[in-house]
Amino acid sequence: MAMIEMKNLSKWYGSFQVLKDCSTRVDRGEVVVVCGPSGSGKSTLIKCVNALERFQQGEVIIDGISVGAPGTDLPRLRARVGMVFQHFELFPHLSIMENLTLGQIRVLGRGADEARDKGVKLLERVGLREQAEKFPGQLSGGQQQRVAIARALAMDPMCMLFDEPTSALDPEMINEVLDVMVELAQEGMTMMCVSHEMGFARKVANRVIFMDRGEIVEDALKEDFFGKPRSERAQQFLSKILHH
């Protein structure tokens, strides 16, 4: 059964069309990696999934609920979809622990102790137990991104969205974040990841989506995508990012 389903999604900024008739789906337990040149609409596409970006045409359905429908309780739906951003977006005025407990307390209505216990467990899991009382500005980029993943997981999400989670990181910090993501994928989390990390895609992805100029050009099983991409644009893209 589909966890995330997109049907003929189109979006315009004024007269410029950023997404053109995009359709795809992510099944329960599946890991889908979205790649493509910059400006191809990948980030916009993934932000449409939980309606951080509005779209004008088409439909997104998460766990059977239509995101764009007028009656949908968006905050409630978003609370069940974890999201990790390129620039981490931890809340700089709150401690690491407060970052982890804010949503649990304010959105899920958990008690402070329960939220804290959960926060401690998740920080342990991403290897940052010692940093709980620090502030985001005191952590490295890789550490911040791991906290951001923990913050999303604290909400017990049914699926996770990653918007270029390693693009803003120094090279030596990319792996510590990817390791956490690989572990998550292997535990069966449903994941949609905008990423250029082809090593990560090879390791855990079920499918790879290639986007260019707002269109989904290729949507293939991992083996097919890396074996013999059908579109010329995808071939060019792969040759550029793989042959270094």
Partner: protein, 222 residues
């Protein structure tokens, strides 16, 4: 012309003429600051709401207040309020309400800049956690906006403190009025105004030094 003579200035005079005025000036400043920031923040939120039926009236209010001399607003409010509520409101209360409403326009521009200084990604992150619009504002955006703008808010408050002297127009008893009355009583108006200037200077200069320190601290914290 006789030389300056400050001998009339003593503790007794402070108690008799100045203290009440000083207290009122501080009260007026603090109340107008708190009320102004509160109303100003609401105005800023309305202006940034993206809904023209909320944004336009708020913008009209802010622009009107910022285009009229404060002393005129003070006078008009004082003269008009008896017609509206049917009885006169004391000069002190009239001043407190006027200053709050007037300063709200200035504080709202500061808060608007502050809210815009918080990156869009922070709003995304709050929304993605499932926070509502108001929760995201209250818990994520406004605390950061407030922190970023603290030096500017305080600078505006220093200007507000100086402007409180304009209540002379409606005869409210503030710090300046205290000095003026003392000067008249001892027939030493020049000395009294000179001392008044010195007191305003010391308070404002001390506050602006605090602002300077805050600015470096916030710069470091970023």
């Amino acid at each position: 012309m006789s030389a300056l003579d400050l001998s009339f200035f003593n503790a007794d005079l402070v108690r008799q003429f100045l203290w009440n005025g000083f207290v009122f000036s501080i009260q007026l400043t603090l109340v107008a600051m708190a009320g102004g920031i509160l109303i100003g923040t609401l105005l800023a939120l309305l202006r940034l709401s993206g809904r023209s039926w909320l944004a336009l009236p708020a913008a009209a209010y802010v622009n009107t207040m910022r285009s009229v001399p404060l002393v005129m607003v003070i006078l008009w409010f004082f003269l008009l309020i008896p017609f509206v509520i049917g009885r006169p409101l004391g000069a002190e209360w009239s001043a407190i309400i006027t200053f709050t409403l007037f300063e709200a326009a200035y504080y709202s521009e500061i808060m608007r800049a502050g809210i815009q200084s918080v990156s869009r990604g922070q709003v995304y992150a709050g929304n993605a956690l499932g926070l509502t619009y108001f929760q995201t504002m209250r818990l994520i955006v406004l605390p950061q906006a407030f922190r970023n703008m603290l030096p500017v808010l305080l600078t505006q408050t220093i200007i507000l403190f100086q402007d409180t002297s304009l209540v002379y127009a409606i005869g409210a008893y503030d710090l300046l009025k205290g000095f003026e009355t003392a000067g008249k009583n001892f027939n030493r108006p020049v000395e009294a105004y000179l001392l008044a200037a010195a007191v305003y200077f010391v308070i404002c200069y001390a506050l602006s030094s605090v602002v300077k320190q805050l600015q470096t601290r916030i710069a470091i914290a970023r």
